[in-house]
Structures are given as C-alpha cells and as structure tokens.
Amino acid sequence: MSEAIEVRGLGYRAGRSFALRDVSLTVPAGSIYGFLGPNGAGKTTTIRLLLGMSRREAGDVRLLGRSIPGELPAALSVVGYVPERPHVYPSLRVDEAMRCHAAFHRRWDDAWATRLQRMFELPDDRRIGRLSKGETGKLLMLLALAQRPELLILDEPTDGLDPMVRRDVLTALLDYVSESGATVFISSHLVHELERMCSWVGVLDHGRMVAELPIDVLKGGIKRIRLAEAPSNGQQLPFEVLSRAQDAFASSETWVVRGWSDPMVQYFDTAGATVREVIDLDLEEVFVELLRSGREVTR
C-alpha cells in the first residue's frame, strides 16, 4: 500500500452557505502532509468525513487501504486523531482518560504513555476540564501517540498553544514519526510551522482543492519575478501567471508564476523584456498567492 489516505470526488453540503465540492487528495504512506487552508475553508469538515464522523454525499474515502465507512472500526484502530477542540470527557482525570483510551486501543503502549505524561508534566489527578489549553493539547497528543497509530490525523493540534508547548507537542510527534514511519495528516493555518516539517502540501479554499504537491515542487515552482518592459497579456506563456501587478515607483511589473524553471528566462529575452529579479517565496507567500489566484479563477 503506497497511499495512507485516498480521497476521490468528495462532496458534502452543510446548509446553503458551505459545501465541499469534488475534493480529491492523496497522502503517500510515510509522508507528513500539511493540509492548509484559511479559516472556514472546510479542513475540519474534510477530516470529519475522512474519519466517518459525518456522512458524505459523494466520493470515496480510503484510510490505509480500508474503505470508509465500511471498514471504519478496523481503520480507526490504527489511526490516531487529535481534534480541533478537546473531545475527551471533561470530568475525567488525566489518569482516567488514559485508562479509558487504553481500554479501546489494542496497540496502546502503557510505558510510552507514562513517559510522554512525564515529559509533558501532566498531573495524574487533574480533571481534564481544569487543564490549561497547553496541557489539554499535550494530553490529546499523548492519547493519539500512545495508541501507536500508523496514521495520525491532526486537526490544528497546536492552534492557540504557546511556543514552548507547541515545540513539546511537535517534538513528541516528530520523534514518533521518525521511529515508527507513521504517516501524518496535519491541518493548520500556521503555515510556517508546516513548512519546517511537511513533505507534501494540500491547499483547500472554499471547499475546493487549490493545489496538492510535494512541498519542494510547490515552493520551487512558484516564483515572484520583477520585469522591465513586461510583455502584454494574451501571449502564450510557458508557465502559469498567478498574478501580475505594476510596481508603484518604477516602470516594472511583478509577476507571481507557477511552473517556473530557470531556462524560462530566455522566453522574456525573446519577448523583449528584462528579468530583473527572480525571488523564492516561502510557503506562506506561496499559500497566499495560490488562494488569491484560485479565488480570481472562481470569480
């Protein structure tokens, strides 16, 4: 099995204002897949559909080769899930939550759970409802990791956590991944955080997939180019122009292009333009440009 998650033509409607339309994504086994999108894009809804928590209207979902919802219990036995909001009963104590979770997960690793609990400094006797946001985040990650999953589905696991807690949580996650080779599907709008750890990125906006690529291809292929005497619109271009704007204080234009490679400079030479600068974008800039161009196409 080379794909940990396969989604084809996923469709779902929630009321009149929101719908997922024809969402397809493929998460290679062993990868860390960043699922990016602005607030309200449909990331949590997609995750709920992946885990069979909501009923889809169209499409197919397979987790680790198992069809959802047909083989849901078998799939969930090897999937660790950290939801956006705490889902564990707030009246339970930390040790009770761990015991309860262990009872339902055959692969639960008690020794490792205890080690993580010590590392995260989670007190045994504290009620979950009385834990701080950071402690709750750590507990949810502990529960997901100690069941030794083959696939981790994390819905904004570090959202609202302070940098120290975020580092602890992500370190534990990455340690587990490097040791077990598990696949991670992590949704977030904290782009910088994902840039450091992800090997694949999928971008969702307004219920549609805007892009899905290995992160180096995504970052390498999208460039900001400053041009003098830029060619006019309507010409055949060897790359896709995501945006173009006149510079304020110069007779030059700035283009953001997808599918760029260095030999393409020759195209501008033949078109009578001069390439002044080719700038690498970080993932956040790539993300913003993808959303902007996606929205212009939709309009």
């Binding site: 928590m53 219990p73 078998a74 939801p83 909001r85 889902h87 339902f104």
Partner: protein, 230 residues
Amino acid sequence: MTGAMTQMLRLQWLASRWLLLVLALICIGLPQAVVRLAVLGAHGADRNLIPAALLQSLDSISVLFPYLAAITGALIALAAWNWDHRTGHVYALSLPISRAEYALLKLWAGAVALLVPTVAIWIGAWIATSTVPIPDGLHAYPFAFGVRFLLAGTIVYGTMFALASGTIRTTLIVTIGWCALFIGGSLLVPWLESQYAIELLSPTEMLGHAFAEWPGPFRVFAGSWLLIDV
C-alpha cells in the same frame, strides 16, 4: 472487550454517581414514608376494618412509585448520554468500535446503574414492611415490589436511552411527532365522529391499548403498586 465494558461502567458511574446517590436516598426513604403514612391513615378506621383501610390508604399514596421508577429510568438514560452530547459525540465516533457496539456498551452500563436505585428501593421496602405491624391476612412483598420497580425503570430507561442517543434534532422530531399524533388524534377523531356520525378508533386510544395494556411494555405501570397486599 472486557476492558471496554469496565471503562464504560466507570464512565457511567462518574457521570451519574451524585444522581444515583440522590435517587438511592429517595428510594430508601419513600417506602418508609408511604407505609408509615398508610398505617397512620388506617388507624382512624374501625379495628376490624384495619386491613381494608390499610390497603385503601396504601393504594392512594402508592401512586408515587411508578412516577419514581419512570423518573429514575429517564434520568439514568439522560446521564448516560450527557458527556457525549457535551463533546459532540466526537470521542465516541473516534473509537475503533462500531456505533452499535458503543451504544450497546452504554446501554449495558446504564442498565447496571439502574440496579443501584432498585437495590435501594428493595432495602427501603424491606425495612418499611418489617418495622410496622402488618394485620392478619395481609402480606408484605418487598422483593416483588423491587422487581416491578426494576422492570418499570428499565422500560423508561430503554425508551429514553433510544431517544437521547440521537441528535437534539432527531429527538425533537420524534417528540413532536408523538405529540402531534396524540393532540391531532384527540382533536380530529371526535370532530370527524360528530361531523359524519361515524365511530372511529382514536389513535390515542389505539396507542394506549398497544402500549399500556398487556402485552404492551408500559403495562407494568398500570394497577396498584402495593407493598402490602392480601
């Protein structure tokens, strides 16, 4: 699965322990109060009529017991789902068991919790009937009374458990549907009968027959709930 059953029982206990304590106290206390009040009421009667007066007096107060059984069953069912509703069922849905298995585990844990007030009412009934003088010809039935309480509680528990397992929307639809059937039936049938001079079977009566008469499940609530009888 044994571990899961134990944990589910533990969750049920944590979610309903204070409720169970209050219900247990009421279940121990109510039979004492009812039997003592009935004995007090019967003392005003002619000495030869004491058994009949005691039964009459008991009969008038014992109506409280079916209500107590119904409330007990309903509250335990609601407590069983309370945490799931508060967390949007997300934890339950993320567990590697089917929804049916999860519901069965919860149903089982709630049914076990129902034993706490049942044992309490049995103890209360036993103390109440063994500490008052029972006239000749009458007998105390604390054990049978406890069994009846358990049956009645289980019926309401099962019904409420099924209702509370769904979303608030589903629960509202079912409740409104039943209300509409009852209210519509009780208004529409008499109107149709008077308009067209025909005799129709009211849905309210039909449902009443089906559910509250033998072998209907709610038959256990009907009749007298006497702790002391001939």
